[in-house]
């Protein structure tokens, strides 16, 4: 039996890779709004569920014609916002549009609930609409996630 010093004990390559991955999570996608990152140039999402939430928010905030190459990308809520005051069924229309676009572009998202709240206090002439959406991502076993987006009536 030999005698070994602990100073000369290393780690296996597999263990080293696992340790590295555990310490620095793998970036999945670019986080929005854009911000400077600490390790990378831009701040990144490091888990898939967060990245999907980010993508979902961008999908809802995008209007038709804004996405290069995909004219019909987005929930296209701006037209609804522009004549919101004359509409009694804003909620139902917004729900339909959000549901349709999610089914088209992010079918793996399972929408659960939709809630709106209007804020007329901050600006008398411009209404602010807060949309709160709860959703599941069954393929990732993620349930009960919520997302709030803010829209400004014109």
């Amino acid at each position: 039996m030999g005698q070994f010093s602990f100073k000369s004990v290393g780690t296996t390559q597999v263990q080293q890779t696992a340790d590295t991955l555990a310490q620095t999570p793998m970036p999945v996608g670019i986080k929005t709004p854009l911000a400077l990152g600490t390790d990378d140039l831009l701040a990144m999402n490091t888990d898939v569920a967060t990245q999907m939430g980010d993508n979902l928010r961008n999908l809802i905030l995008t209007n038709w014609g804004e996405r290069l190459g995909f004219y019909a990308f987005g929930a296209n809520l701006r037209p609804l916002m522009s004549d919101m005051s004359s509409q009694d069924d804003f909620d139902s229309k917004a729900i339909v549009q959000i549901k349709n676009t999610v089914q088209t572009w992010m079918p793996y998202i399972d929408l659960q609930s939709f809630d709106t709240s209007f804020d007329n206090v901050q600006n008398k002439n411009t209404a602010i609409v807060h949309l709160t959406i709860t959703y599941d991502i069954p393929s990732l076993k993620v349930y009960g996630k919520s997302l709030q987006v803010t829209l400004y009536a014109m």
Binding site: I30, D40, D54, N55, R67, L68, G69
Partner: protein, 611 residues
């Protein structure tokens, strides 16, 4: 080994095979996954990473498209942008034209009183001047191109106009005569523009005319009295002008070519989109370098009076461009540009539709009494006895592009024999008409070519081409001729032949009718339109023609004889020809530059029936 692996790691594989959006996006995605797997993973369409990929692919796709587009624009067959098509057409020498006008011969009729001897009152014969205008039923305006001079006479002294007796008294005393004379008219309208230019020297000044579809620049003058001539290129310093031929052969050649210098000149360009014409004048400064064809560079050198040495003679190169070698650009003057414009298919009007006098410019050189002049003027009527033709709508861009290959092949120079023959036949008819032309090498001079030509008189008989025609032809060919080439214009030797035959005819048929059928067939065969210079006669072809006539059983004899000089008031050429000596292998060969002709087929083709 480690260094090699490091070197390999630094080599990033780039692929350049993608040309469109999808291909580039796929390659970019592959590249990102290969070299940035730990940096970003989400390139889905909903993500920002996917958006960036789309941006890059879109830029690449656009660049690829424009690269393809640029290459397409280099080929006239695939070019689509009007500016590029215009450059291709200009480079190939295809003239861009607008709608073409229609041409028609209009006959003018006048009623002229008889004089005391019951002859035409010559002093009352008017001239309907060029630029008089007539209107067709559909409103198309026709301009008279040249004067209709009713006092014009032929070489035999008789009036060129056709004359009929007009009014007569009860005692058959002729009171008036009806004269008819034709003149060529062109459709379209004439316009004049005046453009004032400042005293600043502007080389290659350009002036764009307001009206599109300009068919002809009639005249360009300036207020200094200079006449500007249209040339194909500003390097052309002479133009060819047609002048009235006053020589004895004026019946056959009405006009002669005169070479005149053109220091004041311009070229025209037509915009392919608007079909507007732009005139580009010369680049020389008329004030400073009027006489300098080739400038003296030393006059432009900057002097160094206190310097003993210098490395170069500084010369302002811009001054070398202000010579008269590319024509003169006048300054401080007013250009007056007269031109004709308009055309199209609807300008081709039917017979007898041009009958309205729109603007009649009549001149009486004989100064008749005012009442006679007024009566003659009021009697003028016009009509077109033939349909006008030549009117065409402006060719489309595709039409013009289709012309490029053919125009490229036919460069404006005479290189081959075919080029020379083609040029001879394209001599404008008012300078004389060559009926047949043939080209041979000169056996005595390797740098010279013999051009044999022959013409026809008004009766359709072959005659040696008039001297004025040869002179016109020489001037016409000179610009197309290579500088080392010489062309000897010679008269073709016309060999007048007579043909006789002896045939055996089916006894059951009428011999006279059978022979007449043969004669008719042979007269058609020997029509001069079927013969060219140097063309031999094939005897078996004649035999075949005779045998084609029903009733011919056999040919006993066929014989050619020559006709020379004057026989029973029939004029033949003076060329003596031995038929037998020039018959070989069943072919009768003419001498070099010779042309067979049966001048009087009714007399010179004789048939006989053997019993």
């Amino acid at each position: 080994m480690g260094l090699k692996q490091e070197a390999l790691k630094s080599v990033r594989v780039r692929k350049y095979i993608a040309r469109d959006f999808d291909g580039m996006r796929a390659l970019l995605l592959e590249y990102a996954r290969a070299y940035y797997p730990t940096k970003i993973a989400d390139f889905s369409e909903q993500s920002l990473g996917g958006l960036f990929l789309d941006f890059a692919s879109y830029v690449g796709d656009s660049l690829s498209f424009y690269l393809d587009h640029l290459y397409s624009e280099l080929d006239p067959a695939t070019a689509v942008e009007p500016d590029n098509v215009q450059r291709q057409l200009t480079a190939a020498g295809v003239p861009i034209i607008g709608a073409s006008p229609s041409l028609v011969k209009v006959t003018a009729y006048i009623e002229v009183p008889a004089d005391s001897s019951q002859s035409i009152m010559v002093s009352a014969l008017p001239i309907i001047r060029a630029n008089s205008t007539f209107t067709a039923d559909n409103g198309t305006i026709f301009n008279l191109l040249a004067d209709i001079d009713f006092s014009q006479t032929n070489s035999n002294g008789s009036l060129a106009a056709s004359v009929k007796i007009g009014k007569q008294s009860a005692t058959n005393v002729t009171k008036t005569y009806i004269l008819a004379l034709s003149g060529l008219c062109i459709s379209g309208q004439e316009a004049t523009e005046t453009i004032t230019v400042s005293a600043d020297f502007v080389p290659f000044r350009q002036i764009t005319l307001q009206n599109p579809n300009v068919s002809n620049i009639v005249s360009v003058n300036d207020s200094l009295g200079n006449i500007y001539y249209e040339v194909n290129a500003l390097t052309n310093d002479v133009v060819y002008k047609n002048v009235l031929n006053t020589a004895s052969d004026s019946d056959l050649v009405p006009e002669a070519i005169k070479v005149i210098p053109a220091p004041y000149r311009f070229v025209t360009n037509v915009d392919i989109t608007s079909r507007q014409t732009t005139l580009t004048f010369g680049g020389g400064n008329a004030d400073s370098l009027q006489d300098d064809v080739i400038p003296d560079p030393s006059s432009f050198a900057i002097s160094f009076p206190y310097t003993k040495t210098f490395s170069r003679i500084p010369v302002n190169p811009e001054k070398l461009l202000t010579t008269t070698t590319l024509g003169v650009a006048a300054t401080n003057t007013t250009y007056t540009i007269t031109y004709r414009y308009g055309g199209g298919l609807n300008h081709n009007v039917i017979v007898d539709s041009i009958q309205t006098l729109r603007n009649l410019d009549v001149y009486f050189p004989g100064n008749p009494a005012p009442n006679i002049a007024a009566a003659v003027r009021s009697s003028i009527e016009v009509t077109n006895t033939e349909r006008s033709s030549g009117g065409e709508d402006a060719p489309s861009i595709d039409d013009l592009k289709a012309l490029i290959p053919s125009i490229r092949n036919s460069q404006e120079r005479i290189v081959t024999r075919e080029d020379l023959i083609a040029r001879v036949y394209t001599l404008p008819s008012n300078f004389g008409r060559v009926f047949r032309a043939a080209v041979h090498s000169n056996p005595h001079n390797p740098l010279s070519t013999q051009l044999f030509i022959v013409s026809r008189n008004s009766d359709g008989q072959l005659i040696p081409s008039p001297d004025t025609l040869k002179s016109n032809l020489a001037k016409y060919l000179t610009p197309y001729r290579l500088i080392t080439d010489a062309i000897d214009v010679l008269d073709a030797a016309v060999i007048n032949l007579a043909f006789s035959f002896d045939v055996l005819v089916d006894p059951s048929l009428n011999k006279t009718i059978v022979v007449q059928n043969v004669l008719t067939k042979l007269q058609s065969f020997f029509d001069i339109k079927n013969f060219h210079i140097d063309q031999p006669i094939t005897l078996s072809e004649i035999s075949n023609l005779i045998f084609q006539i029903p009733g011919i059983i056999s040919i006993n004899k066929m014989k050619f004889d020559t006709r020379v000089g004057t026989i029973n008031n029939r004029q033949y050429s003076d060329v003596i020809f031995n038929v037998e000596a020039n018959t070989k292998y069943g072919l009768v060969f003419p001498p070099t530059g010779g042309l067979f002709n049966v001048a009087y087929p009714d007399v010179d083709i004789v048939g006989k029936v053997s019993v």
